[in-house]
Symmetry: C2
Subunit: 353 residues, 2 copies
């Protein structure tokens, strides 16, 4: 994935006006050379609809996402290629959160005059790279004019064995609460980008200082969906009772599971998995590390609950951490701090701007 | 459908700020009481993805649409309920154009602060009404803040017998070219709305003059997808060789079929099906009627080609008109005018703003 590594260098390119290609020309140009690899994909872009055949043994998962400039992304520090990659991956993550594997993707783009054909090529490079990395077929979409900024709408399908999808509402009392990877890094990456943007403020030849913090940038700009965790769950014969991906933040997403499962929970501050770079930048910026891990969001890790009998299997799985357990609803939803205080878990996720 | 008939009266309602509900509150509020009726729908809104099961004998169709304020709709004369209805129907029409029946819909909405909870209720009333009329399940979607105006993203699935989808690329030499309903009415409805908007220009107590032109307004503001035609094609055992819905205009959409099928065509000006109100307003506004029928767009009628042997069956079908035939590519794509002149068919559809 070296072509996404060079995060801080803008792409230099000529400018071709989108009007010179027109809608059909542009979408044909952007999806040229598209090959379908999923056996469930029967027809890709170019007709009124795509055709899929999932057969008797599979369920189809369907998830959709709308991304608006200025709300969900800021092009002043997010290169278009990364935006495309992330937009695709965030959708794949929703499919993984159902215990499925992403299979097909449609992309619709609203484009204002500010953008050129080269810009759209860059955006699609990121989308196509994500499709390639995850083995997903690009099966449709369109482009349209927009009066203001860039609008992205993605719809992702996924495949899961019939009846094997994992919902948010299946958590049971005494279940272990488990999370993959680590938390808070994407959030600290965002803090870093915003700090450098503030310092930049129009300086010429400005070089942002990202040394030693590349992992945080990567987590913010180029997150990955935990398809590998879904595959390993199947290999290890672990069927979670409930699952969600950490997009709004651990607190908010854990509360979704608890509310929809009518249960309570206990999680332990000392068990929260946190990367060294996350901790280091939080200290440097004088921010509370646990807050970043609990409320940060955009980690796209998988948060799931599983039966207590699976303790040994999960405990020995290096990529997954047990952070607490599910309890009765009347016992509340609480974090046990390092000094053994119980505090209520509160959603800090999405708000209207 | 009387609750959509009163086109010119704005809804009077209080104003509840969207922030008072938040994202999850809003989407729960808007999708309250949602019941799934399609046997292929296994899980609706509220989790990371919807779950569908289509089984061995069916193919799934997938189509997506992005609608942006100021580009695809103008709220100065389109009530939100109509916008919701039309947005859904336009997607259903894409499914019909594949010879399928619409089954599931997801809706994502980007909302600026200008809009209230009541506005979104109105929008969703139209969407839900369309779902009810067409027997479609609302299975997902979300709402988000937007910096500018209203953004709508819809994804529709549809069901078709395995292998029975009709593409654009199957037209054969000597096929009949057929179109359902009539053409140009939606375009003349738009002309009418724009004329009245021009006259209005801030006058108080202005009453637009729509008498005797209700059909044109209905075609523009409340189009229908020709699900009935798809059902009758099956009953009459007509399997079109190629099909598309007339969204960009007859010329543009017929050219899609010809290009993708590598063939030419002849259509006859005198055969174009045109409603009396369309003709009447075109005369009143001194506009070319055939241009409206050829290039108008948004009729959402079905345009298909079928084997010559089906001539008698189709000829006796009141809702469908045979307007020409498919020929070899080297013979070109031409309209035969009333005075027997051949003119090239040129796409006048979508352009970048």
């Amino acid at each position: 994935m070296e072509d996404l590594d060079d995060i801080t260098q803008p792409v230099q390119a000529g400018r071709t006006e989108i009007a010179s290609l027109g809608e059909f020309g542009l979408i044909e140009h952007l999806t040229a050379g598209n090959i379908l690899i999923q056996e469930t994909s029967r027809l890709g872009p170019g007709d009124d609809a795509a055709i899929l055949h999932y057969g008797e043994n599979k369920d189809l998962l369907l998830s959709t996402d709308l991304l608006l400039e200025g709300i969900h992304f800021d092009l002043s520090y997010v290169p278009l290629k990364h935006l495309g990659y992330k937009a695709a991956v965030v959708n794949f993550s929703d499919i993984c959160a159902m215990n499925g594997l992403p299979a097909q993707l449609t992309v619709s783009v609203g484009i204002s005059k500010r953008f050129s054909v080269e810009d759209m090529e860059e955006l699609y490079e990121g989308i196509k790279l994500a499709c390639k990395v995850y083995g997903v077929d690009l099966i449709g979409g369109d482009t349209s004019a927009s009066l203001t900024g860039l609008t992205l709408s993605l719809t992702c399908t996924g495949v899961v064995e019939k009846g094997q999808a994992v919902l948010r509402n299946g958590a049971k009392v005494n279940d272990l609460i488990c999370v993959s990877g680590n938390l808070g890094a994407a959030y600290m990456g965002l803090q870093l980008l915003e700090r450098e943007k503030m310092i930049y403020q129009g300086q010429q030849n400005f070089q942002p200082d990202f040394a030693g913090k590349e992992y945080l940038l990567q987590r913010q700009l180029r997150p990955e969906a935990r398809k590998d965790i879904v595959e390993k769950l199947a290999q290890k014969k672990i069927r979670p009772n409930a699952m969600i991906d950490v997009s709004d933040g651990l607190s908010s997403d854990l509360l979704h599971i608890c509310k929809q499962s009518n249960c309570g929970c206990r999680i332990f501050e000392e068990k929260l998995p946190i990367d060294f770079q996350t901790a280091s930048l939080a200290e440097e910026m004088n921010m509370n590390l646990s807050t970043a891990a609990l409320d940060g969001g955009e980690d796209y890790e998988l948060l799931f609950t599983a039966a207590l009998e699976l303790h040994e299997t999960i405990e020995s799985w290096a990529e997954v951490r047990i952070i607490g357990y599910i309890c009765h609803e009347q016992d509340g939803r609480k974090l046990i701090t390092r000094d053994n205080t119980e505090i209520d878990i509160i959603a800090q996720g999405w708000k209207m701007a």
